[in-house]
């Protein structure tokens, strides 16, 4: 057990690991859903500390990675319009569209701004009523309440020059799609803690029962991940398939009721394409009818965008846990964080980037100390 000194409480980490080692008697494949968990696992070498029988499969939980190429291309088209100020979170800047990225649009003269919060974008719209301000609303259930609120506020305050380019995704339909996939090897899920701090846990018992799969709500700090794995392995060994909450300090069963109410008010469920994976039924949100005026796709008529995905990129397989990043021939050669072919390499939460940063090209090498996460 090498890198334990990296852990905040090495003694506790060792006890959790000892328990996992003592419990696991058979091979088990667990999928961590959240990209923050993937990052934590690779950075701290958690996968290497686990018994050989316990395999972690990296899931599709990186919002930047799964935003469909078509939506990136729409964002690039809107951002290049002369009347538009385009606002985005910083980690979307270098996600490649068919030809370029937002960083390039800015260098070519587009008015692209990075904001910390969608509220900042709304504020920009209020200060400059002569411009169209568009916010790129991506993300899972953790981010969606913020974007729902900002559209609600825009309507309440009568801000007409603000709109949202919406590409929200939902976790439970993704779990459903993964379990239904023909070559699915996943036997249990570490559910994404912060998604559940909004949505609670009541979406999961039915999924767990129907697919006979344990779902353990897990945080993304190293000790949280170990505890999530420990509880999952205990369930698997006993043949159980329950929903368990290993992140109780941040997740309550009912989630955040006020946020859930706002989501239900502003958004409606829709089918959504996931980059590299394809369309998953009911896996996304779009603006509800009453808020259609604030939909940037309608306002700017960006439909019929044609997309071109690099043929070499296997990020779809990476996102579904079918291959590990280093099984992709482009990994670390033609595809690096500096020259990313796919979103899973450009986003700091992407599995390809995590492998590149912390393990370089050598599968056996320990996580490097100097590798700092880049966004």
């Amino acid at each position: 057990m090498k890198y334990l000194a990296e852990f905040q409480d090495p003694g506790l980490a060792r006890r959790l690991l000892d328990d996992i080692h003592a419990t696991a008697t058979r091979p088990w494949a667990l999928m961590e859903v959240c990209g923050g968990q993937t990052h934590s696992i690779i950075r701290h070498g958690i996968d290497q500390l686990l018994p050989e029988q316990v395999e972690l499969i990296h899931g599709p939980g990186c919002p930047v990675c799964v935003t469909p190429l078509e939506m990136i291309d729409k964002a690039l088209a809107v951002a290049a319009l002369p009347e538009v100020t385009f606002c985005s979170f910083g980690d979307m800047l270098r996600v490649p569209g068919s030809g370029r990225d937002l960083f390039r649009v800015k260098s070519e003269g587009g008015d692209v701004r990075v904001v910390y919060s969608p509220l900042d974008a709304l504020e920009i719209a209020r200060r400059d009523p002569g411009r169209q301000v568009v916010f790129f609303g991506i993300g899972f259930e953790t981010t969606a309440p913020a974007n729902a609120m900002v559209v609600h506020q825009a309507r309440r305050l009568g801000v007409r020059n603000f709109s949202l380019l919406v590409s929200h995704v939902r976790v439970p339909p993704a779990i459903e799609a993964i379990m239904r996939a023909p070559h699915c090897r996943v036997q249990a899920f570490l559910a994404a803690g912060h998604v559940c701090s909004v949505m609670g846990t009541d979406e999961y018992p039915e999924l767990a029962a129907r697919h006979k799969v344990p779902i353990v709500v897990t945080g993304f700090e190293p000790l949280d991940v170990l505890e999530g794995i420990r509880r999952t392995v205990h369930q698997l060994e006993r043949g159980e398939h329950r929903v368990d909450n290993a992140y109780a300090r941040a997740v309550r069963a009912e989630g955040n009721p006020a946020a859930r109410r706002m989501l239900a008010e502003v958004f409606e469920v829709t089918d959504r394409a996931w980059r590299g994976i394809g369309t998953i039924p009911a896996s996304g949100w779009r603006l509800a009818h009453a808020y259609r005026d604030f939909d940037a796709e309608h306002r700017f008529g960006v439909t019929g965008v044609t997309t071109e995905e690099p043929a070499a990129c296997r990020s779809g397989e990476v996102l579904q846990g079918l291959i590990k990043p280093r099984e992709c021939a482009a990994f670390g050669t033609t595809c690096t964080p500096r020259t990313p072919l796919g979103a899973t390499m450009v986003s700091s939460e992407g599995a390809c980037a995590a492998y590149y940063l912390y393990r370089r090209l050598d599968p056996a090498a320990p996580p490097s100390k100097e590798a700092a996460p880049v966004g």
């Binding site: 990186c62 979170f89 919060s117 996460p373």
Partner: protein, 102 residues
């Protein structure tokens, strides 16, 4: 962007009919909307994601997380300058520094 970061509420005010807080994330102070956590008070800790408080957190848990995030550089990632990071990743140094908002 998908990480939610714990912070301490250091001030609260009403703005445009919405309860807003100043929240300290281990040194970086940001405006945070309290619409989803209306009963939070000055001195409380909460998990904050893209400018919205989502769940209350006890102080010990919050401080431990902040300490960890500071060590692994996650705070810099969340609050640092995304343009210079993107420029470095792209291998270009922009002729003029690209300004962030505000």
């Amino acid at each position: 962007m998908c990480l939610a970061v714990p912070g301490k509420v250091v001030g609260i005010e009403e703005r445009d009919g919405t309860r807003m807080a100043r929240v300290d994330f281990g040194g970086a102070v940001k405006d945070v909307c309290l619409a989803y956590l209306p009963d939070i008070e000055v001195g409380d800790y909460a998990i904050v994601h893209v400018g919205f408080a989502l769940q209350r957190l006890d102080e010990a848990a919050a401080l431990a997380t902040l300490d960890l995030f500071a060590r692994i550089g996650a705070l810099e990632e969340e609050f640092g300058d995304a343009w210079s990071r993107a420029a470095a990743e792209a291998g270009v140094v922009p002729a003029e520094p690209l300004e962030d908002i505000r």
